[in-house]
Symmetry: C2
Subunit: 170 residues, 2 copies
């Protein structure tokens, strides 16, 4: 199954492998690898774009180094709606992050996520994330959770953040 | 595929799912859950049993808490042969550990491992570990790596450690 959604001028592809319990997300950005990477590992930047627009992130920990961890609360209108966390298996600066992902509201649910950044030249970057879980039912539940809203709206906000950084030369 | 190997008086089962990129290890121990758990999280105890008999562990870090990490070197006759590491997604004391597993010699290889301890009563415990990787080829490579030597010899040494602890009332 492939879900393709128009977001700003780039599409986000969310693909489910027919034979493996994986989800692949593919998205391009009009910004160099270093800026996309920094927007993913700097907690002050992350808080400006990640997740649905209706959600604010209260980041308790965001230590994206090999052996690190992260933890944050999602808030809607000041109310806590979910608590996310994970551990960081390994980081290759400006290239790749391998981490786990979970949330307190379903403590048994966990995925192993690999994020890779590919330099497309001309200051453009392709982000690919592959998540694996333990069985097809969990993978299908992940897809049915409405994750595409947070993914699409988050990447639109990231487009805007990256454009502002380019505008200011930051 | 199921590999069953006689080790002391308990068998270790190593099972590969035909349809998922997972490996399941199942082993019973004649010791209560609390002692098996402690032998897995206390680095001084871990160094006494984990891995093949021919290998010594030089543990640099063994922080088995939610958000923790571990890192160790495997030595044979004083020579470094491999460097293992991972991050700890979540720990439920005396019950469950979810962590990643990797090694420097194949930096792209990673698995997500869930270890669970089940109380069988009468001071006996069943350990179940399920590891998932990103594809069937990686799973088959894991099985072909000779992992069963370390698993079987390690659990035999753990049997002996647990018996010594019972003998001393520790």
């Amino acid at each position: 199954m492939t879900t393709t959604t128009e977001t700003s001028r780039h599409e986000t592809r969310i693909e489910a492998d027919p034979n493996l319990p994986t989800v692949r997300i593919i998205r391009e950005f009009d910004a160099p690898v270093e800026l996309v990477y920094r927007a993913r590992v700097d907690p002050e930047l992350v808080a400006q774009w990640m997740g649905p627009r209706s959600i604010d992130m209260d980041i308790e920990k965001w230590d994206l180094r090999t052996g690190g961890e992260y933890r944050y609360t999602a808030l809607r209108g000041g109310e806590e709606v979910a608590h996310f966390y994970g551990s960081v298996h390994r980081v290759w600066e400006n290239r790749k992050i391998v981490q786990t992902f979970g949330f307190e509201e379903m403590p048994e649910a966990v995925s192993l996520d690999t994020l890779e950044l590919h330099d497309l030249g001309d200051g453009r970057t392709r982000l690919e994330i592959v998540s694996v879980v333990y069985d097809m039912e969990s993978r299908d539940a992940m897809l049915a959770s409405g994750m595409e809203v947070g993914v699409n709206e988050g990447y639109q906000a990231l487009d805007e953040l990256l454009a502002r950084q380019a505008g200011t030369g930051a």
